[in-house]
Chain length 333, copies 4
């Protein structure tokens, strides 16, 4: 059984059905009936007027937003372990045309007002040093921690004071909300978030992500940038249909709850081994190479995460017996 | 009935089946079983060792190739009506970081050795003028004309003499080959093509295109650029599966033959109205605004293409009776 | 005697004196006493509040302005023979991060409201085609023609209507004004110009050009871009001092008048040979290769400009006897 | 007396003379007699065939080199306090089109094989993480420390093993060599350096720096990039003449020795206050705000460098009595 990442899991049957149902001629690009429903669907969910643009990768969603939030000669503040810094092949530099990432420290890949303020204060306000333009945070973080609405609001307040924009990489936004039970509006625009990369691929989607713009003045620019970056698919209805299927009846939340529950089961099997509290669907465990090898011999696959540490990620379709067996194997180490 | 573009048609049932069959956990990105079969499948088709990288749009395939073929301070020669110039929102400039398109004239969007050579000769060889690095041609062209292998080879020879790379935008490559009956190898690498954007979306695919690299030394760079541009999907198997389904039993050629046949039917209905010979699946007709309105009133939709001209595009699934009715309506104008 | 270009002439003695006078310790970059006087000096000249930033090349002045006036995904309208298109090695693409130049036709490299409007009208207003953001004109043009204030104002009006910014490449701005006798304010901001690259190097300067911003809201961004592009010299006083010396007592106008007068003398020697009216300091003459060779044999150097055409450029220090001899040689052809 | 930076000092009289001597018509750009002598002069100095290209700023020299050494999708390893990271407004990102700086720790802004190797080893070799392409070191460092030839050679060896290029920012290269007495060839190409930004502005120049390419295959690309970035001045002879004047009779070394001697005098006045050994012409001293204020009251100006630390920089023309007075003032604190 594979616990490498939720990004390779199967698509949910409802998503597959929606794709089939969309398989008829319609207007190209995002002029079709499905794509046109996105704004309304997300505006309902977020209780405010938003613009919602499909993309096919989180990297595209993140970096299209960042390019609109930060000019080529300014900087984006993010955690040292942020996906945009570590795992996107330098996409922020490419999309922005040279903007800089200023890296912040913080437990579990979390950004705090303190680290942001300190980083800003270290930058002399002149033309020689790159001035910050935006903050980007990941929720849930790369280490599976979750921002509460109040935490984001504190960052949002600081952003406003400092004249910075606020972006949220929500590759696992569903997992975060499934844990906190907070409203999606409270942890985003009410807390000062300007743009959210709302992830669906890791949560039952096939290849659709959604960039949700709370600052709707950005949408004109980002629509053009999406096209210019080769991300405007001609049969966009197949992307929109996936997203709508996941939004319907809160399937996205159900999927995330299932993945989170699986993660909790694994975490509870070995609480003393946890490197971070398990707040979403990622588990970081202390395990010697021998222990890791033993688990693999039993048929469980996952990534090593530095020496004596392993990372497990659960997905929406990993439930029941198999999780129980893995939990037992971990407990038995 | 809609004849706006083949890029909004339904996906072929075999493609849908293949997507369903791929809906199980596998390695992420392009490490899955389907993606790994692409190189072999295209190497067989082209009778030489190639690298084949899926993308989701033709713009991405085109511009990833161009970025590897042309540095930021040089130029790409292409037709004035080339898709990369006219309809990709400046993507070549963005992907290359500033390279220039030098525009060529030519009947039916066709590039010839003569126009290329003349354009090169107009450029002084110094640091003040932008020196050419590559030629990009579209086959079939934006006006539905087709390059024969010998025509491409003449361009390829010139490219070699002038130290230029040669890219082919094959958004309708299938339609071109369905017409000429030539071998795909003869019209590409044997004729000097370094990279081909092989289109599937307009020909029965859902959202998969393929960048085929005959110069396989480019593949390392392009794989990184694909990731950096946000085009490396995590569930790449769904793209590879589409492509493999279309390659199997030459479904791609069957689809293109069907679209071409539909186009020929329409063309034969009004040969005197043709602006260009119909060699693929696009028909450009002279028609007054009143005539266009009359066709629309009968339920046929299409684009106006300048004053007194309309463009019809047929697709793989437009056959039989409906085409006959449209042909009759055109003939009756 | 060399008539290749005014860009290689000697610097004026007053400029050399000013450089010497600036050779003492002062604050670095543009914090020195000379640099700080620029805004005031140009505000006086232009009868409005401007920001004036030195650069060392016209390419830098042009492209820093264009990068601030046009985002990476839009276009700049300019003449097909504009220096930014033909002789700056693709600098606009590099500085803007991929913006496109849309090329206009027009006699003597002149842009008119008609050609601008027609070009705009050809661009579909959607995300597939690159939307225009700015117009750039050169005054005097690359063929030595001069825009009158009314002509610029007509372009400025159109720019405003279409939501476009207006940039003037004034590499030979002095020569233009020396001819028209118009006020520098009338041909710039009063006519709708947002930014002017005010050339000094071709007119007695050593290596200082000046970017004059009438839209002073651009200055923050351009100051940062100037630094990021490596154009913020640490001993900026040496640049500012040159410019101030040329502004003092209208030396810039005197120099331009001298160059223009020399050009007129040459033009009057062979009025029938003129390709364009001589309105500044460039003369384009019809001359066979044999005639060109004959002039060269007599010691006069210049560029060929296509077959049977030569270009002569006069500079501020080419006066008197030598010009008379050259004029006689031309007349004697 | 001002000790802010050597970058605002006066130009050396020999430099001023050379500029005056160059004030006559010659071929434009770098086709003049002075510019053409640069390759030879530097080839003699470095005892190997080099290409030497003038620029007007160190930022331009650094970033033109880096753009040729590192593609847009790879990374440059440098010290966290490197000038390219801290004080060039993000120029490396702009010139390379998005390449990343990977930051290294190390005492006194020095890079070592250990920190380079460790940074490389942390980067997974895949398309998700940005792969390194080059190392950039500053000699003398931003804290006034000097690399010996053997230290550079150790970095050069590592670079070769790892497939990395090696760039040296030599804004104070002269000060470094004046201290070590080593040969300029030994600390550069013999140690594996591919490109050197050889600083003259801080060492008696007016506004000329020189990019010296030991890997001469880079020169074609960099000449074009220099033009595209607006750094090809039309009267290049004025830059070349400055550089030649400083090379003549080792004036560059004499100037550096003078600045270094002044720095040593100040350092010796308060050895216990030194934050770093003084190996070039920068002195970092521990001093309370009150002590700093006291020095300023006596007429000495300098930068604060964090709390309880000040930075003094001496220049080629700060000698004799004034230095003695400052040294006495420091000693008396």
């Amino acid at each position: 059984m594979r616990f490498f990442s939720d990004n390779a899991a199967a698509a949910h049957p409802k998503v597959m059905e929606a794709i089939s149902a969309a398989n008829r001629l319609d207007t190209a690009y995002d002029g079709d009936g499905w794509s046109k429903r996105l704004d309304g669907a997300f505006s309902d969910l977020f209780e405010t007027q938003v613009r919602a643009l499909w993309t096919t990768t989180g990297t595209a969603a993140n970096c299209l937003a960042l390019a609109a939030l930060c000019p080529p000669y300014r900087a984006i503040l993010c955690h040292r372990d942020a996906h945009i810094e570590v795992d996107e092949a330098g996409a922020p530099g490419f999309f922005t045309g040279g903007a800089k990432l200023v890296l912040l420290d913080g437990e579990g890949a979390k950004v705090t007002p303190g680290t942001v303020a300190a980083a800003c204060d270290r930058i002399r306000s002149d033309v020689h040093q790159v001035q910050p333009a935006a903050i980007s945070i990941t929720n849930a973080t790369e280490y599976g921690l979750v921002y509460r609405a109040a935490e984001v609001a504190a960052l949002g307040d600081l952003a406003r004071q400092r004249g910075l924009k606020l972006h949220m990489d929500g590759a696992r936004f569903a997992n975060a909300l499934a844990t906190t039970g907070e409203k999606s509006s409270d942890v985003t625009w009410r807390a000062g978030v300007d743009a959210l990369s709302f992830g669906f691929v890791k949560n039952g989607g096939l290849n659709a992500e959604c960039l949700v713009l709370f600052d709707t003045t950005l949408s004109g620019e980002i629509e053009v940038r999406r096209k210019q970056a080769g991300h405007l698919q001609s049969k966009g209805r197949f992307l929109a249909a996936q997203i709508l299927a996941l939004l319907e009846n809160d399937l996205w939340l159900d999927n995330a709850r299932a993945a989170n529950a699986a993660a909790r089961s694994l975490a509870e099997a070995a609480p003393a081994r946890l490197v971070y509290p398990v707040e979403a669907n990622e588990i970081f465990l202390r395990a010697t190479p021998e222990e890791a090898a033993s688990l693999r011999k039993q048929g469980f696959d996952f990534y090593d995460w530095g020496p004596d540490e392993i990372r497990l990620v659960t997905s929406w379709d990993q439930q029941g017996e198999a999780i129980g067996q893995f939990a037992a194997a971990i407990a038995a180490l």
